[in-house]
Symmetry: T
């Protein structure tokens, strides 16, 4: 059975908890349950931290034994060369995901330090970005 | 039944025909057959042109009646503001896809005129980028 | 009798056909009829294409015999050095027009390859931009 | 009867007074007379100053009661954010005009602070740029 | 008794006079009265001009005898090196204030020539920006 | 009674502890006591961390219940998009403060990721920058 | 016998037809005859189009069977990433030629998308640029 | 007898009046007397203003009858395209002077709008910069 | 006896543990033992963290009592202004070291925030970079 | 008989002497002999120096009497404005050549100071670049 | 008696020898004689070289004993940091001169490495630039 | 016995001869003697020139037989692509050294053409930079 981890970075712990009129009242934990049911043959792990270095620690920890990383680093996507270096040091392939279409937003969100060291990028499909990444990693 | 079109731009007609040691001998047409079988409930159309303006013509033609566009504009992704304008003039939602991870390549491939006017972007998953896009459009 | 051609580029064939709540239901063809009536002493021709090279072909074709070109190249305004070269190779003077005030829009619409090789620029007056250009060319 | 003011900025008081072999001996005042005859149903006012702040004073003074401003700010076009702010604070619509085609000249003349806050731009038609602007404002 | 002058630059004479639905009907002169009552032990002077050089004249005039300048230069903040030079030539300390948060606005409002030669900057607190500056200058 | 928190970022724990000949021997804790006495009707909380993600945690923790944040993020002001995202996700208004006039210092300190998502900015008034921020938040 | 094609891009069909006082009355077709006589052992083909995508079509068509391409893409040299991609997808080596010395002209003509994917560049020798390219391809 | 005018711009009226311990107590008026004695055969005029537009007015006023202008525009050197346009509109040759070596100062003082339209530049020789300019204009 | 600390930043805990075919199987801890034997008269301490703020905490903690810091901040070298500020706040001199020659790598690794506040930089000598730094600090 | 000189700049004396597995064991002197035999009606001279100023001396020395210069300035191509000035001061036409296709290499090799003042550029054809240049100069 | 040296850099040995219809037939040596007669109380030395390093050698050689340097480094002005370093290492003050007004020429001639380390700059007065520099150095 | 050469570039012959109050009265030759005594098993050679091309000559001369180069090119570090090319053409490994910490100085000293082609860089340790480089080369 494949082991895949979803790693969420800065401020993504607030999903579903703030601005419910916009994002709905579904928390990421709720959504995670649905994902798990959709992929019964995958062991799905989850980790979130607002601290850049803890994200690195986690990436290093699972980076030689897991089968895939789904990484939404939040704002660290655009500022953290250190997370990128962690990704290039490990063996587990990573998929970069974004809930929003970052290319429609401020220009400083158009550049990602991480894309270069990930398998690929999925951005703009709301929560479904995670599902598409999982779909890919489950079959490749 | 949903109608979704895959539009391929410049040089993508060469897929599977050149450099078979790298890309394999599978043409896009072959791959398309497999896709169609995977999504029996979707009407999948296909169009390819090397001419920027013909891509615009096609986008305009289907852009008020189809349910989705999967667009890999090839190099026009990075130079064609005109295709972007076509996408923003129509009603059909588009997903931008790339076979390779463009962010690992030359810096002039990091900017896309199209991302801003698409629902989202899927890049780097080989031919599977198309399947993920189809997956999304089939369910949303 | 002067011969003047209006050349419209990418996506301008959609005028009046899309988003009628914004642009009204008047197509460019309708507007053209009104223009013709306002300038009974001018032979007004019209050409539209979404293909950059066809615009060049047309410019070359009429560029040594007509008395004026009114050119709204749409998005090609900002990306086509080739159209600019065509304009500088011919003898017929051209006026660059834009329906919207491009300087209020995205920064990539602030630069025009064409302005440098046209007599002048008229931008921002809606359909009336064409009339003002015609006014100028009819009298100069 | 509509009230429209033509406001000329820095160095435009020299028109027709210097280099007559190039510009002819027609001063702006002479040209203004002709304009007034062409538009007998418009009250045309005129103001010129070389002082940026006086242009702002004039714009504020007439900006809530006049029907239109035709503004050729000369070199202040390219350096005066303050005039732009004055234009965005008032209610009277303004048309930016230039005698020469500024896009054929030095690159520092390609950017205008004013275009963004005007209805539109007319540049490159010699003195006729003013007439075209008047034409537009008289009918809209 | 301390002598402090508030100097307002381009277009700030329109405060409270235009767009009352947005800015209210309170003019700067009204607000000034309230400020004077709040700081009965301070002599508060006021000067406004739309002319860059007159602002310099005023800064020079009071710059060796007053105890403080509260300067909102409006758009000149972003274009006037000459006002900055005036500030660095005098002895009276100046505080730069802005009513709006300029960093939320267009990028050309993010740079100030004046900040470098002022004690400090207060921006974004509406009219209260003036009061905070006065607070500081009254006690330091 | 209003609840306001002062959050200090990187290296600000060293205030008053290093270079006493320059900064004096007053620690931030000492200064805090004075502030508390000046604002007896405000509950003033204090938090400091050198870890970017802990600052985010704290902002999230108090961001839906407190009445104001006074944030001096130190060097993170200039590099942390993640803190900016945290501020834009919460409801409590924040005021950005700086002890020194950052615009007099190295150019990489002139840009702030945070200003855009704060009510306003107060910079350059030494420790008094905090007092002015408190003044504003206590009354608005 | 080697098969070599000369491909001319945008506006090069006008050679010898416009501005004869500058370029002479020799058309490219005339010149081609002379070239063919100079290289009797080479099969020289010729293609011209103003349409970017048709140039790509031609490059793809002959790119696996011909022995050399001499490509003067005109203005597309500086704007067409799509033609560059076509060149890198084929097997036939290409030589980039320019009639004028592009480095003496406007700065936007100094960058070529094509040079990177051609064997080499020959620019500035008038029509003789083609002969030199042919010379090289005939012997290598 | 030649007529030459020295025109001083923003803040140069403060010379010799402020910071006498640095600049000495010699005002520009004092220095002017010495200059006049050194050049008894030249009629030397003097004008100073802090208002950009008044400098333009003066340049226009004397620009067709005087034999030379010595222009130290102060900070307007670096921001005023309008003064540059005035200089290029007149017939009298101008020499740009600076008291300090502007190239040793902040980078925004390294660019001058005026140099391009002056005969030449003399910078860095203190008050003697004016004498050298006068020397040149008196003999050429 | 001198007290010197080696501080390693992001991802440097993986040294010798990953990619042994490239880096060998020597961990930094192993190498440290060798270093200690080479410098028997120096007390060598060691600290590693992937968390930017913990590096700052450590720098502050030892920065007033130790005799030297050898700092390899990894990717934080290029993004952390906060670590640079910590270094400039303390008294202990620091030497910046890099195992690889960062100037041979991606351009975003050519700029260091830290160099400006360190005694000097040693880069490119593999593990020996640490020894050279120690050599310097042991004798100066 | 025409007199043409080949001038080679920095490090080109190493051709054929270093890295024979790459460049072969043919020195430039060997190649020169072959060139001379191919062009028996041309007097071919040769000069090489690693010293920028000596290249200038040679260009000046022969620049009024020779019929052509073939210049491969090596790295000075990209940094020497002084050689460019020498070329523009003389009468002999120069052809810029490069052995490698400089546009495939590092970006700092894409700009040439020399191209602007040469007849044309030939780059990327190995040693044959010299022959093509000679071909051109021998016949024009 | 003061000892002053004029140092001319790259290509300035050609003055008066080339393009006599433009520059006249006066060589720098001729002009030097006239200068010497004008300043009988100054020992005027002269040195010219096209080699950057020889200019440095000369500057070092006389830089501790002469009273002034008049330096026209030609193109090295814009590219030689090494000459600038030589000037800042010596004690003799230097004046930078240019015959032409470099600010009217190509933009790469607008920046000088030398201005920062010279007393001042004199540019644009033809040969008289040297005389003005001598005038200054003779009296200061 | 290893043969290592120290090559010093522009202006480094002045070390110890100028500004003794800053640099001490120790010349590089004196320091060299001490170095030689510290490394009795290394043959240490020394070369200095102010001429860029002579440095290249020396690098070429010893670059295939020596065991190491310690190169302090002075200002040429930042401007000489030609020296970089020489280093990449030879076999002897080079270490780039700087006496001062160039990253604390003007921004044009932050970029080195040489670092990319050296083993590594040592900067900021005064004369000891040379010793550390020697240390490395003697043992590797």
């Amino acid at each position: 059975m494949k082991k895949i981890i979803i790693i969420n970075g800065a401020n993504l712990n607030l999903l579903g908890k703030r601005e419910p009129e916009i994002y709905g009242s579904q928390t990421f934990e709720d959504y995670l349950e649905i994902l798990k049911q959709s992929f019964p043959n995958i062991q799905i792990f989850y980790y979130q931290s607002n601290i850049e270095g803890e994200l690195i620690n986690k990436i290093q920890e699972i980076g030689f034994s897991f089968d895939g990383i789904i990484l939404n680093a939040g704002a660290y996507t655009h500022t953290s060369l250190a997370i990128a270096d962690a990704l290039s040091a490990i063996k587990t392939p990573a998929v970069e995901v974004h809930i929003s279409n970052v290319y429609k937003r401020e220009s400083f969100r158009h550049h990602s330090y991480l894309s270069r060291v990930c398998v690929g990028v999925i951005a703009g499909f709301g929560m479904e970005s995670y599902r598409l990444a999982l779909q890919y990693l489950s079959e490749n």
